[in-house]
Symmetry: C2
Subunit: 184 residues, 2 copies
């Protein structure tokens, strides 16, 4: 019964990039039709609840990616140090070494957050908590681990803001490196 040539999951990364460029409220359906090559009827076929459902799918996709490539290694590595190394490597890769922003962070800043509250909250709290536990296994005390995790996650977010404000991705890679070096 299904055709499934252009699958729903193929569209989601494109949606992600469009939301990154224009923000949630700045993204129009006509822009989405342009970028995905899908007409409105197709979009509403895949996402019956419209724009909101598209953004939810994107956020879920991001969370899945981080779960797979960042959180799981942090949790499951035999050696916490190698888990941390993997985190920094994957984060650098995900954000294209500072050329790509964090959509969840961008959504967090204005009232877009209110529409995706649980997802935005989960993304950052899972990251912070998982990272703190990894740091504990590395030998840090509970409080220091928590503080350091907070410093790292917010440091990454801030570096993305700063890098884009200066249109200079190196700001991100520099800051990321310093965050990593502080652990050594």
């Amino acid at each position: 019964m299904p055709r499934e040539i252009a699958e729903r999951k193929d569209i989601i990364p494109v949606l992600g990039e469009v939301f990154r460029e224009h923000g949630y409220s700045g993204t129009s359906l006509s822009e989405i039709t342009l970028r995905t090559g899908l007409g409105k009827s197709s979009l509403y076929h895949f996402f019956p609840n419209g724009k909101k459902e598209m953004a939810e799918a994107v956020l879920d996709h991001i969370t899945d990616w981080f779960e797979q490539n960042v959180f799981m290694p942090l949790r499951d590595s035999d050696d916490p140090v190698s888990g941390l190394r993997k985190m920094f490597r994957e984060v650098d890769r995900y954000f294209y070494s500072g050329k790509r922003i964090c959509l969840v962070g961008a959504f967090a800043l204005d009232d877009t957050r209110d529409h995706f509250e649980a997802r935005v909250n989960d993304y950052f709290s899972t990251w912070t908590i998982t990272l703190a536990q990894s740091l504990k296994r590395k030998g840090l005390g509970t409080r220091v681990a928590r503080d350091t995790a907070e410093d790292i996650v917010s440091g990454i977010q801030g570096a993305l803001v700063l890098a884009r404000s200066q249109d200079d991705p190196k700001v991100f890679t520099r800051t990321l490196k310093r965050l990593q070096d502080r652990l050594a």
Copy 2:
């Protein structure tokens, strides 16, 4: 000739809060008329170039505030340490201890930045450079001063993102305190 009861400058802080809540593209003129109590004709009287000019006025107002309350103390304090202390105090006050976001940072993330490129860039580069020079006067080497300044400015931005994502201003105050303590 002028009436000047509701002056242009009285409107700007209100505009700032509206842009903070909804973002630039998410802010409609009708929302602005509601919040300012001014009709469209009055708004276009004060800001002939419309929404864009309103945002420019807000950004200029923010930059002026930081120049006055943050950058100048950093530059002009006899003792760099007291200038730094003042910076952290004023930053905490300005962002309502984590309950208020940084509009310039929010604008930096999506294509809003492209409309206000120079202002967004200036705000962050002035902050970073001024802070680095203050740290140099405190005794840090050129490179360390620059790196530390970058860490602090991006740390503040990231803490604002993280605090709002968790709807927990304490994340901001905690992080701000740690950034300050690292200098001691």
